[in-house]
Symmetry: C2
Subunit: 381 residues, 2 copies
């Protein structure tokens, strides 16, 4: 069985496509409510990247866009805010189902507009995540941990509240909101370097909202910039979709990766962008590489990132493949640290995975069960 994607277009998307203008408009829309998150450098990580490939003259400088410092702890709030702003003024309620960053982001975004947010979460979701959504003023509905139950409850809520369903990625206003990361990032690097621009961007890909939105914006501004999607090899649907030329779903009904924000699959709106020449390559990395990259960021940058953000850093460590895609003349590579939300109790297992001491995925049966319940094409973290 493959995972079925929801196909009903969210209210917010009707009649829209995505282009640079929509992203620029989104930037204006959300500007007052989001953080202009910092861009940080780390020589130790550049040095670590070189060690893997010390004979090459390919020595990129890395710039890290710190969306872990964004409101609600991830970039997701950009898309949620823009989606909410695109709703007809008659809409008073928004609905989604998610146990992850999108749930918190939508609850927070809805509150800023005075809307009610109805968030369906599986009853197995960690209390800390349920509390976070409630803390942002969202109304939480616990359902049985099955795909069917979550869609059914979300559908009932749309019907009973007249609310708009806001998809976490496969929605043009959402993608445009996420694309604002690219506008800011390019501008900040030019400010910092005295006018030089990024030669490449490494962007984690799950549902493709961030990758799609950023690719559209960055390629429109700098047609020669290279765009790389970063994906866990255990959930490589974007890699396989781009290679095959058609939308591939996860081969298993229970996709697994420590990068729980990236278990989702591309959709009808994100796939066409990811498969186009707006995205130059998808590079996949192992679970151990993700864990090692996380540890490097914790130790050397002193930043708390979630595994999904580690995926981009792990790709930055892949000197040979980066050189093949970017060319030896590539100097400035931007890496999006997409979020910093994770249960701190997971870190010990992640460090063991980094050392190769343990198969953490096998160990975490409770989490597996949660992940299996969450693999419904919405957001799983």
């Amino acid at each position: 069985m493959s995972v079925a994607l929801p196909t009903a277009p969210p209210v917010a998307s009707a009649g829209l496509d995505i282009d640079l203008a929509l992203v620029q408009e989104a930037a204006q829309t959300i500007k007052a409510s989001v953080q202009r998150t910092p861009v940080l450098r780390c020589h130790a990580i550049e040095h670590a990247a070189l060690r893997n490939d010390s004979n090459s003259s390919f020595k990129p400088e890395f710039f890290f866009k710190c969306e872990l410092f964004q409101k609600t702890g991830s970039f997701k709030v950009r898309g949620a805010l823009n989606a909410v702003a695109h709703l007809p003024s008659t809409v008073t309620d928004v609905v989604t189902h998610s146990s992850g960053n999108h749930a918190q982001a939508l609850a927070w975004a809805a509150r800023t507009k005075g809307l009610r947010a109805h968030i369906v979460m599986p009853r197995t979701a960690p209390k800390v995540k349920v509390d976070a959504v409630k803390g942002y003023g969202g109304q939480v509905y616990l359902c049985e941990p099955t795909v069917e139950a979550r869609w059914a409850m979300a559908g009932e809520l749309v019907a009973s509240t007249g609310g708009a369903l806001v998809h976490p990625s496969d929605d043009y206003p959402v993608m445009a909101g996420q694309g604002t990361v690219a506008l800011e990032f390019l501008e900040q690097v030019e400010e910092e370097t005295g006018g030089k621009s990024l030669d490449a961007l490494i962007i984690p890909v799950g549902g493709g909202g961030l990758l799609g939105g950023m690719a559209v914006a960055a390629k429109a501004l700098h047609p020669h910039i290279k765009i790389i999607g970063a994906e866990p090899s255990m959930v490589d649907d974007a890699f396989r979709s781009k290679a095959a030329g058609h939308l591939c779903l996860h081969p298993s009904p229970s996709p697994r990766s420590i990068a729980d924000g990236l278990l989702t699959v591309l959709g009808q709106r994100t796939y066409p962008i990811v498969s186009s020449d707006k995205v130059d390559a998808i590079i996949t990395v192992s679970e151990q590489e993700i864990a090692q990259a996380m540890r490097l960021v914790y130790e050397r940058m002193k930043l708390v990132i979630e595994p999904s953000a580690g995926v981009g850093v792990a790709v930055a460590m892949r000197g040979d493949e980066l050189e093949a895609v970017l060319g030896i003349g590539c100097r400035r590579v931007g890496v999006v640290l997409c979020g910093g939300n994770l249960d701190m109790d997971r870190l010990d297992g992640i460090w063991r995975l980094a050392r190769g001491e343990d198969d953490v995925m096998r160990d975490r049966e409770g989490s597996e069960r949660r992940e299996r319940n969450d693999q419904d094409g919405v957001d799983t973290k």
Copy 2:
């Protein structure tokens, strides 16, 4: 047995005292080499602080000075750089013994001045710390893990190299370097708030170099600012010294706290400042409070801090005591996040301690042994 303090004055201190001018001079000296680390806010932590004391109208805003982002991962590099700059031009070598942040900082500072750094470390020091010192170009000398062996080897190195001993805290140029944190912090908060100044500073205290240097500078600029030292109750020599009116050492020869950067004691130069009215109070916190504060910072600020930095945050959570010291009209409280260096493998035990599930101090026999070996009045982390 109490812990004996080294009393020989380091070369760098001869004939100096400390005042605002010395701190301002230090700021000029080190400016080009250090980071102007960011000041961050966190509403979630302000909110968490209020929960403990929700009926009070004492609702301070917290400003966090992020020295975890400083070169070598802690503020220590400020003092080390200034100490090195104060050395006679004939000096070509510096010597210290430390297995902690001062070791890395001095190695790094020496390299920027083209000096050789000789760092004595116990042979039980974690490899990661030895490697960090070597990575900054320091020459590492492993000795038996006893106080006597470390002092003996440091003494031999001073004799054989003609090098200057640089103490991590009880040294005026070092204190002046650490005091530059106050100048920057006050300036940054005024920039951010449109001219309002901090009403109070919470500063972790171990050897007292940071607390002493910052207190001297801040009180000279703003005589009404309140200065609070933050100390683990398990190693409360500063608290007891201030209360007793004389220098108290640790009652045990093996002081223990997860805040391994604060196991040292005040010295002949730092004690007089800490005991004076330049420091308004010392507030002590439990090991569990330190661990809980760390978790709060990891979860909500997305910052990797070491336990010593958690001590300051734990004091910020002590609403009743803060109100008693600061007065109900106090609005803006600065908290120094002094560093971000810790072994990531310690986090799991720290989270267990935060939950009160375990006596981590009892569990960590290997670490205890290390700490016992390190409790020699230099730096223990």
